[in-house]
C-alpha cells in the first residue's frame, strides 16, 4: 500500500452519472503492482459534507502508460467532486487496497457478471484473463442501454452479453434471466454489482456447483483494516471487506443461509 498523489490525465463523461478518469502518479513514480478486484481510496477535498475517502474499484491498469482507470458513479457529494476533476488536477489516493479475484491457472469456461457501475473491476479482470490466453464471457446488466458502460473495451477481451430492464440493449430483464445461463456451462463465475444481483448470481452458481467469487461494496472508513467498520459476516465470523475482501468466495459468505 502507498499513499500517492496522482494527476488527472483525462476525464470522460460516459453518461449522466458516470465518468471515466485516467490518472497517473504525479511524480512519475512507477505504479505498484495492482490486481483485478483491488481498489483505491480517494481523498475528496473542498466538500463540506464529505469527510472520508471514497473507495473506487480499479477499472484498468495500462502499464505502458503508467495509468490507472477509475470508473466513478456520481451518487453523492464526494463522488460528484471526483467526477468534476479536470485534466491536470491532483488527487491523493491510497493504492492498491484489498485482495483480488482468483486468476485461474487452467483454461476453462469463465463468466464475469456485472451490474451498473459494478462492471468496473470486471474489465481489468477480463483483460488479465485475456493476457493469460483465457477466453471469458461477460454478462452485463443495467437499467437501459446507456447504463452498460465500456462495451467496446469489454469486447476486446471476450464475448459480451447484455440485459437491460427496458429491453433497449440485449435481452430484456435481469442478468440472471439471460438465455446464455440456460444453454452454456461455466466452470467459474465472477460477479460485482448491486447486492440483490450478486445474491441471485451466487444462488445460480451454488445450485449448479459452479465456483463463484463476488466483490462486495460495503461502506468503509479507512480501507486498510484499521477501523473495522466494513465487516462482512462470513463462515469465519465478521471480517473486514477491505482487507480480507472485497472479493469473497460465495461459500464463505452467509448470503444463501
Amino acid at each position: 500500500m502507498k499513499q500517492l498523489d496522482f494527476t488527472v490525465r483525462s476525464n470522460e463523461k460516459l453518461n449522466d452519472q458516470n465518468h471515466l478518469l485516467k490518472v497517473v502518479p504525479s511524480d512519475n513514480e512507477q505504479l505498484p503492482e495492482m490486481l483485478p478486484g483491488q481498489f483505491v481510496q480517494i481523498l475528496v477535498e473542498n466538500a463540506q459534507h464529505t469527510f472520508l475517502r471514497r473507495p473506487i474499484s480499479i477499472n484498468n491498469i495500462v502499464p505502458e502508460r503508467n495509468e490507472i482507470w477509475l470508473l466513478v458513479q456520481s451518487v453523492g457529494e464526494g463522488t460528484q467532486k471526483i467526477c468534476e476533476m479536470a485534466v491536470g488536477w491532483r488527487l491523493n489516493m491510497l493504492v492498491p487496497l484489498g485482495n483480488s479475484f482468483t486468476i485461474p491457472s487452467s483454461r476453462g469456461s469463465y463468466l464475469l457478471v456485472g451490474g451498473g457501475v459494478g462492471t468496473a473491476p470486471l474489465l481489468f479482470l477480463g483483460k488479465k484473463l485475456h493476457e493469460r490466453g483465457i477466453a471469458c464471457d461477460f454478462l452485463l446488466g443495467g437499467a437501459s442501454e446507456q447504463n452498460i458502460l465500456q462495451r467496446s473495451d469489454f469486447t476486446n477481451y471476450g464475448t459480451l452479453y447484455c440485459t437491460t430492464e427496458d429491453g433497449s440493449l440485449g435481452e430484456k430483464g435481469y442478468v440472471t434471466h439471460h438465455s446464455v445461463l440456460q444453454h452454456k456451462k461455466y466452470d467459474f463465475i465472477f460477479t460485482c454489482g448491486p447486492k440483490p444481483m450478486m445474491v441471485a448470481v451466487a444462488r445460480y452458481a451454488h445450485e449448479r456447483g459452479i465456483r463463484c467469487e463476488a466483490s462486495l461494496e460495503n461502506l468503509m472508513a479507512c480501507g486498510f483494516g484499521a477501523c473495522l467498520c466494513c465487516v462482512e459476516k462470513t463462515t469465519r465470523g465478521n471480517v473486514c471487506a477491505c482487507t480480507e475482501g472485497p472479493v469473497f468466495d460465495i461459500n464463505e459468505l452467509t448470503w444463501l443461509d
Binding site: 499513499q3 459534507h49 469527510f51 472520508l52 483494516g225 484499521a226 477501523c227 466494513c230 465470523g237 465478521n238
Partner: protein, 304 residues
C-alpha cells in the same frame, strides 16, 4: 529531540503524539504509510477477556466533519493478543499501550492480569467509555462510584502506568476524572466518542445497526477541547487529550488547554501518516516560538 519529550506515569515519551485506540489497529496496519518509531506511543485496539464479534453491519455512518461508529469492541480476546499479536508488535520502537475493556469489574481485572507480565507493554488504558456495547463499557464511566470501583480493582493488580479513558457523555467530566485520580490512576485520556445517531430519510431506518453509535472526528473538537481544559484544572495527574485532532495546530490547542500528550484518532483513516506530520508540525512550532520544551506549553493558554 529533548524539546518534544513528555512523561506520562513511568513512560518517557519521545514526543506527545500518540494514536488512539480503535483507529490504529495494532500499528501493523500503518507500517506501509509511516515509520511507527516517530510516534510517542500507540494505543492498540480495545481488548477484552473473551473474543468479541462486535455489532452487525452497518457499523459506520459519515457525518459532516466526522463519522459515527458502532464497531462494538470486535477483537479476538486477550489470550489471542498475548499469543499472536504481542510477538508481532513488541519490537516496535515506540510505547505500545493496550486499551482494556470489559462488561464487569472482574472482566477488567482478569484481562489486565494477563497483560501484567508483558515487558513491552508499559501501560494500559482502561476503557470505561465505549458507547457501543450493551453491558459495561460506558456504563462504568458515567458514574463516579463505578468509575472509581473499576479503577481501584485494576490498580490493585496493575503495577504499570494506568491511564483511564473518560467518556464525554456525562454531566460533569471533572467529577469522574477526580474520582479515578483518587483511586490511583496515573493519567486520564479524554475524550472517547459522543453518543449520536443518524437516520436514512428515504428508508426511514437508522443508519447504524445499533441505532446509536459514537461520534468522532473534527466535529467534536471544540467540545473535547473544552473538556480537556476543565479536567486539566480539576486534577494533578497528566491529561492525554483527543477529539478530532487533524493537524499540528489542533494538537497545540489541546496542549495549551492542558494536555500533556495527545492522541490522533479518526483522522488516521483520512491521512494514515497524519500523526507523523503532527510531530513535525509541533517541533517546527516550538522552534519558531523558541520554546525549550513542549511541557512549557501544557495548560499555557493565555487569558486577557
Amino acid at each position: 529531540m529533548a524539546r518534544l519529550e513528555v512523561k506520562i506515569g513511568s513512560m518517557q515519551l519521545r514526543n506527545p503524539v500518540m494514536t488512539a485506540s480503535g483507529t490504529f489497529g495494532y500499528g501493523t496496519e500503518y507500517t506501509d504509510f509511516m515509520d511507527l518509531g516517530r510516534l510517542g506511543g500507540i494505543f492498540v485496539k480495545g481488548t477484552t477477556l473473551e473474543p468479541r464479534q462486535g455489532n452487525d453491519y452497518p457499523r459506520m455512518a459519515e457525518t459532516p466533519s466526522g463519522m459515527l461508529n458502532a464497531v462494538g469492541l470486535q477483537n479476538k480476546g486477550v489470550d489471542y493478543f498475548v499469543e499472536h499479536l504481542y510477538p508481532l508488535i513488541k519490537d516496535y520502537d515506540t510505547h505500545m499501550i493496550v486499551n482494556v475493556s470489559g462488561s464487569t469489574v472482574e472482566d477488567y481485572v482478569a484481562c489486565t492480569e494477563k497483560l501484567v507480565g508483558l515487558e513491552k507493554i508499559p501501560a494500559i488504558e482502561l476503557n470505561i467509555s465505549c458507547p457501543n456495547v450493551k453491558e459495561g463499557g460506558m456504563a462504568f464511566g458515567t458514574s463516579c462510584a463505578s468509575a472509581a470501583q473499576v479503577t481501584r480493582a485494576v490498580r490493585n493488580v496493575y503495577p504499570g502506568t494506568l491511564i483511564v479513558k473518560l467518556s464525554p457523555n456525562v454531566t460533569d467530566i471533572t467529577e469522574i476524572a477526580r474520582s479515578v485520580e483518587a483511586e490511583g490512576a496515573d493519567s486520564v485520556s479524554l475524550v472517547n466518542t459522543f453518543l449520536g445517531m443518524a437516520i436514512d430519510a428515504e428508508s426511514r431506518r437508522p443508519k447504524l445497526s445499533t441505532v446509536t453509535g459514537g461520534l468522532s472526528g473534527p466535529c467534536i473538537k471544540p467540545i473535547a477541547l473544552r473538556m480537556v481544559w476543565q479536567v486539566f484544572h480539576a486534577v494533578k495527574i497528566p491529561v492525554i487529550g483527543m477529539g478530532g485532532i487533524c493537524n499540528w495546530e489542533d494538537a497545540i490547542e489541546f496542549i495549551l488547554a492542558g494536555a500533556t500528550a495527545i492522541q490522533v484518532g479518526t483522522y488516521n483513516f483520512i491521512d494514515p501518516s497524519a500523526s507523523v506530520k503532527i510531530v513535525e508540525g509541533i517541533e517546527e512550532y516550538l522552534l519558531r516560538h523558541n520554546i525549550a520544551s513542549v511541557t512549557d506549553l501544557v495548560g499555557a493558554m493565555e487569558m486577557g
